[in-house]
């Protein structure tokens, strides 16, 4: 592990990996994944406002682009926060099942030190938790975003003109999503 000689603390590669796994930061690939999903879900209400609220794309194009970019950023922020909270929970829930699976995959005749087995289990647990938390965070936030957008645009803000309806419903939905994601549960 880390060797603390004097005042300097040297962080080994294992420590780095452990820190990265439990860090709030996401990898570049994961970040791209989040932004792409956030962009797709932010673009979805545009069809609604174009076809049902009769907004002209040429007239409102600039507003649409600005709000879509803002919504994309807020939704991906929500994804990151949700994923961070969920990853630890998924890791705890799946720990036993992952350990069983990893131990089952090791042949009986192969002698493996306990440390290596634990590392394999930890790595697999991290991989499963990473995948499940990412997928569930995207799914949960997308559903909540669509629910809030429909609620705001067709019920709460229905009497406003389409331009303000769009700006407020998309802005409030993405904003609330980001706000809820900052909770610890």
């Amino acid at each position: 592990m880390s060797s603390g000689k004097g005042k300097q603390t040297i962080i080994t590669k294992d420590d780095e990996l452990l820190l990265q796994n439990f860090s709030r930061n996401v990898t570049f690939k994961s970040s791209i994944n989040f932004y792409m999903n956030a962009l797709i879900v932010s673009v979805t209400p545009l069809w609604l406002f174009w076809k049902i609220h009769q907004m002209d794309p040429l007239e409102f194009g600039i507003i649409w682009i600005i709000m879509t970019l803002l919504s994309t950023w807020l939704v991906s922020f929500a994804y990151r926060n949700s994923k961070y909270v969920l990853k630890h929970k998924f890791a705890q829930k799946r720990e036993d099942a992952v350990a069983r699976e990893v131990l089952k995959s090791i042949p009986d005749d192969k002698k493996m030190p306990k440390k290596e087995k634990d590392e394999r289990i930890l790595w697999k647990k991290n991989e499963v938790a990473e995948f499940e938390s990412t997928t569930f965070a995207i799914f949960y936030n997308n559903v909540l975003y669509i629910f809030l957008t429909i609620l705001f645009s067709f019920y709460v803000l229905r009497s406003l003109n389409p331009n303000f309806n769009y700006m407020l419903s998309v802005g409030c939905s993405a904003g609330l999503l980001a706000l809820f994601s900052t909770g610890t549960h």
Binding site: L86, K89, F136, Y140, V143
Partner: protein, 174 residues
């Protein structure tokens, strides 16, 4: 002496008859009607039910200036006519809840008959004058929209999916 007086009386009588004709128009003998009808089909884009009847009238006596009056809801409406006096249009509105539905018959009177009816009303007579012809059409009623709106259905489905996701999230986080 009697000659000029008689001719003055005759002339006066003729003038009275001509003026009364001018006020209410000519009459239509043996009318034949062909009509186009429009009635409001739904309530979503309209606040009231509108009835519009456009018709052409073929009278055997070929009147040049024919004024028509229609009886709608116990009151008379003057029927508008085109500049060439060939086509007529009758229109009126009614609230959605009170608008008649089904077979609707509208009595139409020419100027002369209308004049008699007005005179009878003024003098308090109870005698009824038959309409010159009738316009008949069918109004199916207005569509008030689907009983289950699409946005409510979408909200319910998405809400249900979110609720299931929320429950699963609570299970994971417990």
């Amino acid at each position: 002496m009697g000659g000029p007086i008689i001719s003055i009386i005759q002339l006066s009588f003729l003038l009275i008859v001509l003026v009364s004709h001018q006020t209410h128009g000519e009459q239509c003998v043996s009318p034949k009607v062909t009509s186009d009808i429009y009635t409001t089909p739904e309530t979503l884009l309209s606040t009231e039910t509108v009835y519009i009847v456009e018709f052409t009238l073929d009278c055997s006596n070929k009147p040049k200036e024919l004024n028509l009056y229609a009886k709608v809801d116990d009151s008379f409406i003057q029927v508008t006519k085109s500049l060439d006096n060939k086509r007529y249009q009758l229109s009126w509105t009614s609230s959605h809840s009170q608008a008649p539905v089904g077979l609707i018959t509208v009595d139409v009177y020419d100027g002369e008959t209308y004049g008699k009816v007005k005179q009878a009303v003024r003098s308090g007579e109870t005698s009824e004058y038959e309409a010159n012809f009738q316009l008949e059409f069918n109004h199916k009623g207005v569509w008030k929209g689907a009983w289950l709106k699409s946005e409510l259905l979408a909200l319910t489905v998405v809400g249900l999916v979110w609720f299931l996701a929320y429950r699963h999230k609570n299970y994971i986080c417990s």
